[in-house]
Amino acid sequence: MAKKKSEITPEIVAEHGLTPEEYEIILDRVGREPNLTELGIFSVMWSEHCSYKSSRRHLGKFLTKGKRVIQGPGENAGVIDIDDGDAIIFKMESHNHPSYIEPYQGAATGVGGIMRDVFTMGARPIALMNALRFGEPDHWKTRQLVKGVVAGIGGYGNCVGVPTVGGETNFHKGYNGNILVNAMCVGLADADNVFYSAAKGVGNPIFYVGSKTGRDGIHGATMASAEFDDDSEEKRPTVQVGDPFTEKLLIEACLELMATDAIIAIQDMGAAGLTSSSIEMADKGGVGIQLNLDKVPQREPNMTAYEMMLSESQERMLMVIKPGKEKLAYEIFEKWELDVALIGKTTDTGRLVLKHNRKKVCDIPIAPLADDAPNLDRPYVIPAGQPVLSHSEVWETQDYNDALVRIMSHPNIASKRWIWEQYDRHVMADTVDSSQSGGDAAIVRIHGKNKAVAITTDCTPRYCYADPYEGGKQCVAETWRNLTAVGADPIAITDCLNFGNPERPDIMGQFVGCIEGMNEACRAFAYPVVSGNVSLYNETNGVAIPPTPAVGGVGLIPDLEHFATLKGAQEGDTLVLIGETEGWLGASIYLSVINSREEGAPPPVDLEVEKRNGDYVRSLIRGRRVHAVHDCSDGGLAVTACEMAFGSNIGMQLSRSNDIPTHAWLFGEDQGRYLLAVEEHSVNPVISTAHSKGIPAQVVGKVGGNRIIADGAFDVTLEGLREKHEAWLPALMNKTDA
């Protein structure tokens, strides 16, 4: 056995992504040299992906509590109270690295994973969203990635039968080497029947349910914790393969079992599979776990303990069942034709003990896996903000018709119909509004009731790049504004923090800056973070993505008689703009598209003003004072008006109400603004009430006709512009290779 002594070489330690210092801690906690299986377990548990070692101390700053928060971060997903005994459970998660390597399966399993996080807690998934970032449209890989990711998201969500109701898609050269695929799931549960992951009691049976374990995805979590280089394609075998059919059965079977009183704890097997699920359950419950790996349903023969513990095969769950309920569990899972196996029990040893082929192959203490995980204080430098650009520093176009068409057909503004038509947006028959109308937030009815949740995802990476703190604030503020614009009370957010290599102080500075800005906005709105995920090392050959803290917001529309979309504008309505317009062109779409420049300070967000303006708009919606509402953001007033015109299928005429330069008036991206379509007789009360509250409000135009006009600037037909707006993405995707 002398050979055993040298089994773990420094090379093996390094291959497992562990530093020599971390290995010293492992030696100390285990009290001897670990075997390969044990080392593998430490390696994944201490990976960036599972341990949040670079981010943990900063995430702790977030506001996570609120009067509607039932469960904040730390569980599979966040839980909020939406009255009447209903709870909403939601989370957003990244699947960036696998989607770049294998776009279809990477995206599909991203959707599958986030759904499991939600139904694990007892919720039926009711809506999916996604936030996607791709490289330049002309980059040789982009089309293939868009095609694969969209097909993967649709292929999974459509089959499971959960509507994909909204999202956002951006293109930028900063994502040429690392795309972002962030998927969000929202589920509905009974507030008094939420399930958690803490295993309790000693001697309780542990059940494995779902797909068999194969060799796919081994070390996926470690992959997601390193930069890409030119050989990243070789990591394809670490990408998992999804089976939405099994997921659908798993949802139904779990919900059926959850309706009985049989489950003590439940956890899905996501990143780091059986390892992290069993350890998290044991650690949270303060118990030990003993598993017999021979009982694990296996897809391939001769799998080793190491492979089984690190496999990331999809559609698997682990649960601790109440003694005496084993038969019931078997019956339900067998009804749904799922693999089910009793693979172990809880113990009082505080240790993870694994048996395989009748031998003990692992015996390590559980607490250090969680408690002693590295918690790094990485050096950071928050980048200095960029100078504010004055109007005169931004070139004014001489041809506004051309500028408008270029902006409306620009990759980041053009219609994404080619994408969302591939998603079933109506299954479950409770979708009130979705991507189909291009509105600010998706609206999904609570089944059988007259209330709804509003859901949105947002992030403006160009603002975050220019100024992480202001950009971070803006991401949160924009989701709050999106929810407000449909008449919802914003409740809470989930986030997906996508950044480059945290070992670089400038990247770490972006991360910290964004978090601090986000947190300030959360606190100003009493709008807590209840779940989320961090994705670092989105970097290839030393080039990092733009900082992209994607935010998913959820709000409540208490009464479906009172909500708004951008679709309701009617002939003869007056356009009223709420909020102050200074014509902020720094870091704007106009600057990028018409001036080919990406610079300048992003528009600041005054959180107090934002809240005041939003609360007023929501009161107008509830008082039925408005026909249509749209948040004024990317591309400014002009783009906002065009989108409302498309949604309502009617022309708009914008008229001057100030003396700022035309390009700044039309395309400035000042925050805290909403465009309203108001019936003639309500205009005076809407404006005078705003003024009495100190809220800027002014008439900016009329609704009607079939043209989109801005006085002294552009004049185009609605249909002609719509054609250009719709044509860009199909043209890109249907291009044949030369």
Binding site: C159, L249, A429
Partner: protein, 220 residues
């Protein structure tokens, strides 16, 4: 009036279908599990719901069409029991031989979900009589394999016998002769790719689907 919805593994519009039936009949629909062997004799109308039965593996609807319950469904169809299949349910009906033809992959190869305008080709069937002369309806579509195919002789016969009930106005998937929905010779078995059960509530953006359910219920 008693209605039923059959649930296969990974049917996912079974609840939507049941809601539509309950809305029109005022009574909850009975949910029948695919492994059952008999449709209760007091059931007046059966819906095969949309979804991805058996994950669409092998061929859409192929595995479900071999379910124990489908054997009894075929027997009862021959005796005149009204049966409607929407989306995946339509695929199960063609796979089980209750309706002619087959559903191929969409011509443009992508999944497509959109509100779809349909023309009512025959307003005198048991599934359309309550539309009272209405010529066009909008139902949502959401499918990857909705491209209806049959040989020319079959298509000619369907048209001649007035069994093409709905056609697409603007073909979304390459279906032969724009066919969206058909009935069998007896007029009791109906299949279509669009989803009338997702157009029964103003919240859905339209209520055109109600006419279809009212028609078949009225005819019983």
């Amino acid at each position: 009036m008693k209605t039923a919805v059959i649930t296969f593994p990974a049917s996912n519009c079974n609840r939507d279908a049941a809601m539509a039936l309950e809305k029109v009949t005022g009574r909850p629909a009975q949910m029948i599990w695919h492994r059952e062997t008999e449709i209760p004799s007091d059931i007046d109308f059966v819906v095969l719901p949309g979804g991805f039965s058996y994950g669409d593996y092998l061929r859409c609807g192929a595995i479900a069409s071999r379910s124990p319950i489908v054997k009894d469904l075929v027997a009862k169809a021959e005796k005149g029991l009204p049966i409607a299949g929407f989306c995946n349910g339509f695929q199960v009906l063609t796979e089980s031989g209750l309706l002619p033809g087959a559903l191929l992959r969409n011509k443009q190869l992508n999944f497509v979900c959109r509100p779809q305008k349909l023309t009512i080709e025959n307003g005198n069937t048991r599934y359309t009589s309550q539309y009272a002369g209405l010529k066009e309806v909008i139902f949502p579509i959401a499918h990857h394999d909705g491209n209806y195919y049959a040989d020319d002789a079959t298509l000619n016969q369907l048209e001649k016998e007035g069994r093409v009930v709905f056609r697409y106005a603007g073909n979304p998937n390459g279906s032969a002769r724009d066919i969206a929905g058909i009935v069998n010779e007896g007029g009791n078995v109906f299949g279509m790719m669009p989803h009338p059960e997702r157009a029964i509530d103003p919240v859905h953006g339209g209520t055109d689907g109600l006419g279809l359910f009212k028609s078949i219920i009225e005819s019983i």
